[in-house]
């Protein structure tokens, strides 16, 4: 997804929707906006209950931009089961400058105290919400209690996403502005000059992956456990482990690990089971890790931190005699961005996944009860219902058989799952305006891939420096990840944190969606492996087993002749 352009009505050019993907607009304004598919977070169709979820999420985005006095708001629409959003400005052009100045001031105030806002205010509140969910007895609750719990769940969810955007906006904008400043000062330092100043900090994603490696060392301590992990497919490992005392002991270790870090699913949304529900994804990584010795490959941190400190010192040397305001701004943004880069991953651990999976658990309890009442065929069909349908059914579980309705909707979703949604709908409003906010959107979601000058080359955005060569493995979901072997190039539409333990196995990462500030790129840099992100059609063009060369600095992939 690209060009989170704020619509400029004057030069809107209508985008013709493909016949298999018709789009109808509710009003003239909608038709003039640029609607973009957020393939990085929502590559798959969105189910009805997820639509209710995402709509609330982006209302929270708008409250955050309001709180920061930013002149931009997002509209969202579920079009043919895919989630689209459009940015629009809320102030007339003549007031834009003043509004942006106020926004800059607000944003600076948040950036100035990012770490203390997080540690002293936001995180304690987030943990209190999560604890509230954990304290509730879902299975034991009577129907009215459970319904009341649902309503409060939604309220708390909204509050958490309010916090989410309060956190991510200053975190990412700090990184983006540091990069803007760095480019202004040292043009020609490559794609990653500023990002080297942000590497080597620990975050919850890396922490979870290191703990998984540590777990693999415990597996190696037992010959029986090691053998099971070596020989059994990931899906059969648990059953085999249950057969021996050593195996059961390791299972307890695995459970403890999942209790701490297992609330991660393969993408953003409600319908993807987390690792606690489906531990195979974790076990796939354990199987890879036990084949390896040496230091924890999930931790390049010390080396990266040393490089970072050297790079920071070099910049300070270069800026030594620059005018004070330049040096002060650099130091201000460096501090904020170094705090922001950690929060850009940590917020996801607590909110995008930590909170979402607690909401999923609540909804699955409704699913269980509706299934037992015969309203739906299986627990997870609850996600095919709307929120009002869930409420109505929960109040009167025998009020209706919704199985046919669910089937109908499932068929619609399956139909569109097979269709690649157009990246943009509505109107093309030209290039985004030249301002810090648009630059941040561009770096997060990625610029549209440039046309390649050679038929065997695919272009994307530089994600992580370095070059690598290896057989490509196109992985569409984590259940597909077993084929990825050490030295392979991982080709995916997008990667969520649950994919990142695979970064220790892959030689390089290639994605269809995302920019240099995407989660994938940020984490790939922490693994020190090359990444090219936001390639658009990599998963559709590259075939399993093709040898590819990945150039993370230049941002392209070459498919080598067979």
């Amino acid at each position: 997804m690209s060009n989170m352009a704020v619509a400029q009505d004057t030069k809107a050019v209508r985008i013709i929707a493909p016949p298999q993907f018709p789009a109808a607009w509710e009003d003239a304004e909608d038709e003039r906006l640029t609607w973009l598919h957020d393939r990085m977070h929502n590559p798959d169709p969105v189910l009805p209950l997820e639509n209710a979820f995402w709509s609330r999420v982006y209302e929270a985005f708008n409250r955050a931009t309001e709180a920061y006095d930013m002149p931009v708001r997002l509209k969202t629409r579920c079009i043919n089961t895919y989630f689209y959003m459009a940015a629009k400005t809320i102030v007339p052009p003549e007031r834009m400058e003043a509004q942006k100045a106020r926004a800059d001031e607000r944003m600076d105030a948040a950036m100035a105290r990012l770490r203390s806002l997080w540690a002293d205010e936001w995180l304690p509140e987030i943990r209190a919400h999560l604890a509230w969910w954990d304290a509730f007895d879902l299975t034991g609750a009577a129907a009215p209690e459970l319904l009341a719990h649902l309503e409060e769940t939604l309220e708390r969810l909204v509050r958490l996403w309010d916090l989410h955007f309060r956190i991510v906006l200053p975190s990412y904008i700090a990184m983006s502005q540091l990069d803007d400043l760095y480019r202004d000062l040292f043009d020609g330092d490559g794609a990653f000059g500023s990002y080297r100043l942000l590497q080597g900090f620990d975050n919850k994603t890396l922490e979870a992956n290191r703990a998984l490696w540590d777990l693999s060392r415990r597996a190696l301590a037992s010959e029986e456990v090691r053998r099971v992990l070596e020989r059994q497919p990931a899906g059969d490992v648990l059953a085999e482990l249950g057969k021996t005392p050593a195996g059961r002991s390791f299972q307890a270790d695995l459970d403890a690990y999942l209790g701490e870090y297992g609330l991660r699913g393969e993408k953003w949304g409600l319908r993807y089971p987390c690792w606690i529900e489906e531990p195979a994804a974790a076990i796939k990584n354990l199987k890879d890790y036990i084949m390896r010795s040496g230091p924890n490959p999930n931790s390049e941190m010390a080396k990266l931190a040393e490089e970072r400190d050297g790079a920071v010192a070099a910049v300070r040397g270069r800026l030594q005699d620059y005018p004070g305001p330049v040096v002060e701004r650099f130091e201000f943004l460096l501090k904020a961005a170094q705090e922001g880069v950690v929060l850009s991953e940590d917020h996801g651990f607590w909110i995008d996944f930590g909170a979402t999976y607690r909401v999923r658990r609540v909804l699955l309890e409704f699913g269980r009860r509706l299934c037992e009442a015969g309203a739906i065929a299986q627990y997870s069909d609850v996600f095919y219902l709307t929120l009002d349908e869930v409420r109505a059914l929960a109040a009167a579980p025998h009020g209706g058989d919704h199985r046919a309705l669910v089937e109908l909707r499932r068929r619609e979703v399956d139909h569109f799952q097979a269709i690649t949604p157009p990246p943009a709908l509505g109107a093309d409003n030209g290039l985004p305006p030249e301002d810090p906010m648009s630059r941040f959107f561009g770096k997060f979601f990625g610029a549209p891939p440039a046309a390649a000058d050679a038929p065997d080359v695919l272009k994307g955005n530089p994600g992580s420096p370095g070059t690598a060569r290896g057989p490509a493995k196109v992985v569409r979901s984590l259940s597909d990840a077993a084929k990825l072997q050490r030295g392979d190039v991982l080709v995916a539409e997008t990667t969520a944190p649950s994919w990142t333990p695979l970064f220790a196995t892959a030689a390089a990462i290639v994605t269809d969606a995302g920019g240099v500030l995407s989660h994938c790129a940020v984490v790939a840099r922490e693994y020190g492996i090359p990444a090219v992100v936001g390639m658009g059609r990599a998963t559709m063009t590259i075939r399993d087993g093709q040898i590819v060369e990945v150039d993370g600095d230049a941002g392209f992939v070459r498919i080598c002749p067979a």
Partner: protein, 332 residues
Amino acid sequence: MTVAVASMHPSTAHFDWKRPAIGTPGQAVPRPGTRGRSIVWLGDLACEEYALVGGKAANLCRLAAEYPVPPGFCLTSIAFDRAGGLGVFEGEEPSAASLPRDLYEQLTHAYRTLGERCGVDAPSVAVRSSALDEDGAGASFAGQHETYLNVVGAQAVAEAVARCWASVRSSRALQYRRQHGFALDGFRIAVLIQQLVHADVSSVMFSANPVTGNRDEVMINASWGLGESIVGGTVTPDTYVVRKADMATVSRRIAEKRRMTVMATDGTCEVEVPRFLRMQPTLGQEQLMEMAQLGVALERRMGHPVDVECAYHAGKLFLLQCRPITTLTWSR
């Protein structure tokens, strides 16, 4: 903004350049008692001597006791004569090695002393020519002789001095002399070596409005970094006009400042101003007042409208240059 400069010819000056307290522009013979000194310090009485240090340095020296002028010293016209006068380095590349031995040692010693005054081992200095008939009643000589910025180390300073000396013979300088009716022979040059202010903001101030001719107003041009980008015209600076009577800001035009001069290894370079800073005002209200007050005080002290170069570093205002306004059009 453009400062309307009518003509560079001396006869267009509209007010008289009051003679400085000691010596006169172009006076050939130093006063008794100063004879023989190759190096004098800003703030020394001898440094006010026109015949020793030239107009630029003499002006600055007179102000050094009262105003925040960065510390520095001069290689006098006597040093120039010792090195060979106008025939200096004839037919050879000017270099530190061609300085007379004792002069080189005196220079090294002075540079060390300057370091002590600045509190650093090897201070970064500006090395500027100060012609003996420069900054006199007519022309400013601005930019006619060499200036070296961010020179670090005694050897490099000696090198810069040698180049300054040699620059009096440059075809550009001689052409200027011919055009303005200055002597083509027998003139001399001094060299001012002064701590370089690592300017956050530099400005050029006129204690009379050079655009309108209004003597009740101070006009200030200010931009980021060292003053070279303003003086060289590569940046459009902010323009502030302040009324002397009540220090009210009459106008304030914030320009998009795209270029700035910053220190680089062995000199300076001009770079792009980062985007975030381009439209930010260079001077706050307090700084504007402080600067305007300095302009008013200097005009009073000098007895005529002045053209001032100054700079802020870490919130402190420094006076870098103060000259009579030699060419103004009062008609606009």
